[in-house]
Symmetry: C2
Subunit: 214 residues, 2 copies
């Protein structure tokens, strides 16, 4: 599983474009993971959107993750679900998911990272690492020191989210992130595909500096 560039769709910052259009453009720019996040859309419509993004991600060879809704993830044959601290707990989601279903979990502290790993998470996301206004539940950033602490206690794939852009991604990778999740830095631009490609290039450069053997 590659988590280098992980895009969380959010129609609120997408300049009027739909989840499916945003996902298509992000995939054109090389996104490795698309997460569908919509806390307000009725279930039937969310399922239809999820099915559309599932088809696009299969074509692109990218992962597809649904935020919060395990049922929508299962019904749309997504690769997995992403769970925040207000969503179903990892252990409960694991109980109702089939083998191989990816479960990601937002964490804010090393303790939460250890709990998520023990409960069976497949990857963790430090959220938010920097201050951001994209997510309605985001607050102050936890910072690079927290990212390093989490890296030191967990070997799970670790994604950082919140306020990251191509200008500040290098220290995030250097602090141990396997990948970077963004919302507005990519979706809030006119040319989403270019913004995604630029950020992905910056992530790759930072990884090359960090892991010269790769």
């Amino acid at each position: 599983m590659a988590f280098d560039l992980y895009i969380v769709t959010d129609e609120a910052v997408g300049l009027g474009r739909s989840h499916i259009d945003l996902a298509r453009m992000a995939l054109q720019g090389g996104a490795d993971v698309i997460q569908l996040r919509d806390k307000k859309m009725p279930s039937r419509q969310l399922y239809q959107v999820a099915s559309g993004i599932r088809a696009l991600t299969l074509d692109a060879g990218a992962l597809f993750i649904v935020n919060d809704r395990v049922d929508i993830a299962l019904a749309s044959m997504a690769d997995g679900v992403h769970l925040g601290q207000q969503d179903l707990a990892v252990a409960e989601a694991r109980r109702i998911a089939p083998p191989g279903f990816i479960i990601g979990c937002s964490v804010g502290t090393p303790q939460e990272a250890v709990l998520a790993e023990t409960a069976g998470a497949d990857y963790i996301a430090l959220s938010p690492i920097f201050p951001t206004t994209s997510k309605d539940d985001a607050g102050n950033g936890h910072g690079l020191a927290t990212l390093r602490s989490i890296r030191s206690v967990s070997s799970l794939p670790l994604v950082a989210i919140g306020g990251i852009n191509k200008g500040n991604v290098a220290p995030v990778i250097a602090a141990g992130a396997d990948g970077v999740a963004v919302i507005s830095a990519v979706l809030g631009t006119e040319d989403v595909a270019s913004a995604a490609a630029d950020l992905r290039e910056a992530i790759c450069m930072a990884k090359r500096d960090q892991y010269p053997e790769c």
Copy 2:
């Protein structure tokens, strides 16, 4: 499965009492089914409430159904899910549910009833039969004639919901409903257990008139 008295919990009409308290009182009054319905509660909290109502309904020998959220229903070991026309479609829910999982579906016309039955619904609910203000998605009532039409095209257990109370339940049963679902007629009263018991008695009386052989 007995659907005689089917209570849909709604904290908005419950005079400040919680879903769990409302369910407990309704079960004391003899409710056969409790449906947990909350479109706004975060998933983790909804799961905790569902688990609480699951325990109460098991003690009471009543069915427990979760509105909309198949994942919360599965995680809390509910008996099933109830799907509105904006929720996941019956066929999709059936695909991700284990054998024996009950799927109910709201319908407004005989055509929708036939579609629900074909898709694999275990019961159907005519919603709303009479005008009501309890449910945010409720409109004008479909009326007794629609109930009769649906009865004539489907042999599934048929529940009527919307504006029903002990004073008007007899014609609803006479028109072919197997049971009656209510929200405010029971939950909007001070003594929920008594209101539930009174309504259940009215349903039983109406059924005795309708089916004297029982």
